[in-house]
Symmetry: D2
Subunit: 422 residues, 4 copies
Amino acid sequence: MATITSDITDHGLASKGLDRIEWAFREMPVLQQILTRFEKEKPLKDLRMACCLHVTTETANLMRVLKAGGAHVAVCASNPLSTQDDVCASLVEDFGILVFARHGADRDQYYRHINGALDIAPHLTMDDGADTVTVVHTERKNLLDTIIGGTEETTTGVVRLRQMAAEGALGYPIVAVNDALTKHLFDNRYGTGQSTLDGIIRATNVLIAGKTFVCAGYGWCGKGVASRAKGLGAHVIVTEVNPVRALEATLDGFNVMTMEAAAPIADFIVTLTGDCNIIDKRHIPLLKNGCIIANSGHFDNEIDIPAIMGASSSERTVRGGIMREFSLKDGRLLYLIGDGRLVNLAAAEGHPAAVMDMSFANQAMCSEYMAREYKNLEKTVYSVPETIDAEIAAMKLKSMGIAIDVLTPEQIAYLGSWQHGT
Amino acid sequence: MATITSDITDHGLASKGLDRIEWAFREMPVLQQILTRFEKEKPLKDLRMACCLHVTTETANLMRVLKAGGAHVAVCASNPLSTQDDVCASLVEDFGILVFARHGADRDQYYRHINGALDIAPHLTMDDGADTVTVVHTERKNLLDTIIGGTEETTTGVVRLRQMAAEGALGYPIVAVNDALTKHLFDNRYGTGQSTLDGIIRATNVLIAGKTFVCAGYGWCGKGVASRAKGLGAHVIVTEVNPVRALEATLDGFNVMTMEAAAPIADFIVTLTGDCNIIDKRHIPLLKNGCIIANSGHFDNEIDIPAIMGASSSERTVRGGIMREFSLKDGRLLYLIGDGRLVNLAAAEGHPAAVMDMSFANQAMCSEYMAREYKNLEKTVYSVPETIDAEIAAMKLKSMGIAIDVLTPEQIAYLGSWQHGT
Amino acid sequence: MATITSDITDHGLASKGLDRIEWAFREMPVLQQILTRFEKEKPLKDLRMACCLHVTTETANLMRVLKAGGAHVAVCASNPLSTQDDVCASLVEDFGILVFARHGADRDQYYRHINGALDIAPHLTMDDGADTVTVVHTERKNLLDTIIGGTEETTTGVVRLRQMAAEGALGYPIVAVNDALTKHLFDNRYGTGQSTLDGIIRATNVLIAGKTFVCAGYGWCGKGVASRAKGLGAHVIVTEVNPVRALEATLDGFNVMTMEAAAPIADFIVTLTGDCNIIDKRHIPLLKNGCIIANSGHFDNEIDIPAIMGASSSERTVRGGIMREFSLKDGRLLYLIGDGRLVNLAAAEGHPAAVMDMSFANQAMCSEYMAREYKNLEKTVYSVPETIDAEIAAMKLKSMGIAIDVLTPEQIAYLGSWQHGT
Amino acid sequence: MATITSDITDHGLASKGLDRIEWAFREMPVLQQILTRFEKEKPLKDLRMACCLHVTTETANLMRVLKAGGAHVAVCASNPLSTQDDVCASLVEDFGILVFARHGADRDQYYRHINGALDIAPHLTMDDGADTVTVVHTERKNLLDTIIGGTEETTTGVVRLRQMAAEGALGYPIVAVNDALTKHLFDNRYGTGQSTLDGIIRATNVLIAGKTFVCAGYGWCGKGVASRAKGLGAHVIVTEVNPVRALEATLDGFNVMTMEAAAPIADFIVTLTGDCNIIDKRHIPLLKNGCIIANSGHFDNEIDIPAIMGASSSERTVRGGIMREFSLKDGRLLYLIGDGRLVNLAAAEGHPAAVMDMSFANQAMCSEYMAREYKNLEKTVYSVPETIDAEIAAMKLKSMGIAIDVLTPEQIAYLGSWQHGT
């Protein structure tokens, strides 16, 4: 392992990166508490970890915590557009962590970087979209010998991993961090909610109030984005394929309709479904002139960009490159932010540190759990243990100075009995 | 069975009851669709059912549907304060259903009524708070011979039943209707939300805007009430014992604190926890002068009324009887709505028909399911089958004229595979 | 004057009325403070006042205050549907005030009652809709000899009075209480907002969440109703004739369209425009089957009821009489609440006491102002003096235990100078 | 005039500037309509105009319109921090307009630039904060000979100008553009609302949900910021000196308290009062550790920065320079965004084009009005004529595809009469 070296854009950006990493740490009080404990207890001592995550300031703080726990860490990017080169530099220079990530890496580099991280022959993998798991199970099966377990951050990744487990194809146990309440209730909702709007506003500087804003998907991410768009004064429309979620959106006060009905009146469309082709050739002929489109789902295939290109006579970048303007053959203009990649990472700074604090506290504590319990686990996908969830929530509340009620013995007894009457 | 006769307050109220039952049916399009099908298919043919529910207009429509499905139905009240005497009369006179319920019945009558309904020797029980189940398992165990299954409406009841099942004490299978998304996401949130505020406003006619409104509990019911109180302009405080829920309330924009901290500033306190003594002797010395207290949880023991009485020098009713004014020994006044029973039933008309439509569609379809599947079920508590949930949501959307997207074959395939990359 | 006697429905209702009047007074801390001062200072000593207002518990408390200030008071109803007979009884029996009002009075009685109040030969008039002013200026011009001034509560009345003043037809000075910020910002918005929804819910018990709710008019009342309907989960549509208000509604997140476009999708329509025929023969053919219509504007001519009757083959009352169901000739059903009269008074209890507190504090203090200043005033319409507005707001804040910042001398100086630079 | 030359930072930035100016123009449909008309009618033919505004893309589009109307335009910056150097370059290179503005100019440069613009010997001045008016009235009184009138954009400037007019010190008529409903209802509320939060989020990337956010001032700007902070999930506290506004904030659901009470719990404080020293030496000892402070009022003296510096042992910049971190002598840290200058301009891109569209449509149409009517006007401050307001709102609605109702002749007649009864 001594011969493995990082691959990053510019080592000279370290001090800028460190400044921003420290700023984020200020908003990560749960991770601060775990860092202190890990430094003392070293629960990850001598374990090698390959982590494929968005390389942001928040991720950098998670890497610090893992290292403080005794791990040898290699990190690569789960999305080349979200990589922050100054953070990469600081991780290498200030924290001594192996990094394989460059902002804007192409597809080849992307997979070279994943393989670079895997070259440490990890005991644990940590994913945001299941890409190291996929590479391990397709191209580098020999690594399965040393891997004892892993964790996965996203809904999208968990769907893939559950599918693998169902097919008997999963080679080691995974904890689905996304299943933690302290992850998906907060990260997906408040994090994606604020940062998606932030990305759209930074990319466009357009007033949201009074505009028609279409939210495709009403899962936790969609709920967050719909709520924040409404909070900024938009007229929010939700599209869904699930009738229960569609009904929930309706009763939450949103208009629900098909994408075909929404397309002609949409000023903005954001996709957050986890599925492909949410906006495709069926919708392109219907879209309102000037419509601004973005994706906030994990993969960049929720919008069928080739179909848009096929309908266009020309295109150019506007607003300094983050937005593509397509001139359709019939004269309408369409705008696409960040090439359909995660808009909060492509056009803003990803989730705020305060939500990543809890998500990454789950990552840290689930890695510790895996290191301790892997011998007792099957090769399948596990939920986060409830005690971890409750402990993280309690640490967060404490950091905010919030005290809550405690059940009295009498109340505990009451909840446990069934013989009392009306 | 021919000798069993109804026990109600006034048969002469039937036409008023019928008018209101028909009005509610207008808002119950899912139940309308099920009624039509049940009339044709008779899935409950020759089954005897003992139903212990709030006897409201919505319940009356469920009883119609069960009867249309072929059942012999006896209904008793799950709460004497919520019984609507005109509805009882119409059920007997217009629909030929056995009814054992009188508004304001005392404890003895209450249990006599439950036993009256059980006298039909039911095949199925239907509960809202598990009271017939409890009576069957304590006083009338011989009825277990004929009972094939049951359903339960509330969170509170499900907690009791799960406890019974865990102890091996449950004598027949139960479907926990409350677990259906189309029940608890809608009934507990939008139904309890609107109707709790409705009850408080009818009881007090007090302006909500600008007032400090404490919501004890942030489960689905609490979320609904907090959201509606905020929507009416209140300053909402949430109290909780669960750290994850407490954190969620905080990030939803509510102030979270202990009840001891909230008591001195509360203009209103509503309890919705499913536990006892949420306001008790610890809090009474702290409450703000003039504080208005209500309960929207299932049982009337969330507020420790004897403790309030013990601290009072006198009491009287105000606003025509629905509110008790306690003069505390230190001079402060406290107001209690509806004797601490469910405020939306005691002071308003319970959940609006539009939400009960889905809850009771679950009751009807789960009864049908139990009639068909009981031989394959264990003596434990089951969740509502997912297909019932989806079918009810789809019927509701259709009745609202809302069309939603449908997955394309390509999208279905995508969701089912894990080998695609970024 | 000794021979004038009250005309009310039932003197025996006094104790019920007193109970409710006292309950309302609890929510009227500003009026409480004024009462204390008036008892001492007697600023209305020996003045005769004819007051034409909604005879509710809040009005009763204003009458107490005027009497405490030394006035001889006669009160009649500004709307027969809003008259509360128990309040009338208590005013006569417990407070010794002349009352001319019966709930449900017909048109003849209505005008007899106005004339009854005017029989005291008032020095001051107090109106809610300018009806005593109109009668004085048309049928009883001789009363102009003794009248020194008056006050008017509503937007609608002020429009009429300004029109009279512009035509030189106004016989004495009027203070437009509605112009006070502490009146129209609060009463019209928060009061009408909550109580309109309250009236609709009491009349229908229908779930608001998920419904399409049309608010005709986006003045202060319309803003309040739109906000509260949204707060209860409705999809709110606003109709307007004023482009600035229409734009404001759009940017506040509401859908704005013409009534013709809104009618086919409306579950509810509420009119609050101050103009006539907002729903008329143009819209009736377009209305959605089952649409529920109500008015929350001052007069009952915002909905063209004769046009609805003309399109109907039959009608009946439902839900105990407060709602009329019209069966249109084409088979659709329409529902009208409270015969198109103010829905918050017809189906609920009018504005909550907490907002009437400020409106009526303005009435009391403007009557005092008129008594003191009438000699210096022209025969025209005056706004409420700013100092009265500020004093009322400060009294209200104090009663809520809210302290606010005070300008420092330095800050006052800064605001008064223009020579400082950037 | 031929010898006057622009003073800008870098002419080479023109194409970047043009790209952004065109993007903004896309969101300015009212200005587009006015441009078309001005090109034809030339209402400003041969007039020289000195405009002191934030030099942003939106301002650039206003300058185009004025030039299209026939004016000779010189523009200088009303705030050096808001100047966008690429816009300056494009104005000079692409539109042939004189520009005196450099981002980050110091105080000397700032006043040199104002004087540069005034060197054209204007007929009309256009201000955002009354700085050219102030310079004209103090240092360059001879210019009063040629000036026929002016316009002013901000509340702050209007306060100064009204003070000057009251003292008889104003040398020519001014239209207070800020008084237009289509200006202050939209720009101050929706524009400041969104862009203030945008600036704070860009500067900090901090999660707003769950944080305590103090809004100092509840004028139109404060209302906008409070509403948007709430819409993003913050716990919003309002401080005020005006009791009516304080009461309004309370009933809008915000907590109102003094700054001294708010300081110890504030995660964010934003000042928008138009007064000085809103946060000063009284509050610094009380502020919560880590508090983030920003100003969104016109001038940078709402926060007493020298007082903060006096209490600090050291300071440094963080997050790339837009934020100063003060280490107080007692160990607490404070953060100040953009040196206390307008946060939406210092840390974001100012108001979105869609709101500036209406504000600048008022500027364009009021300049036209002044050019036509100046002979009939006194040397005082005028409100925007109502017809201009209505015309702008109607143009905006039309551009959004929104149709509104039109009064029928019957309705117009009804509004104009006062003799109809109840």
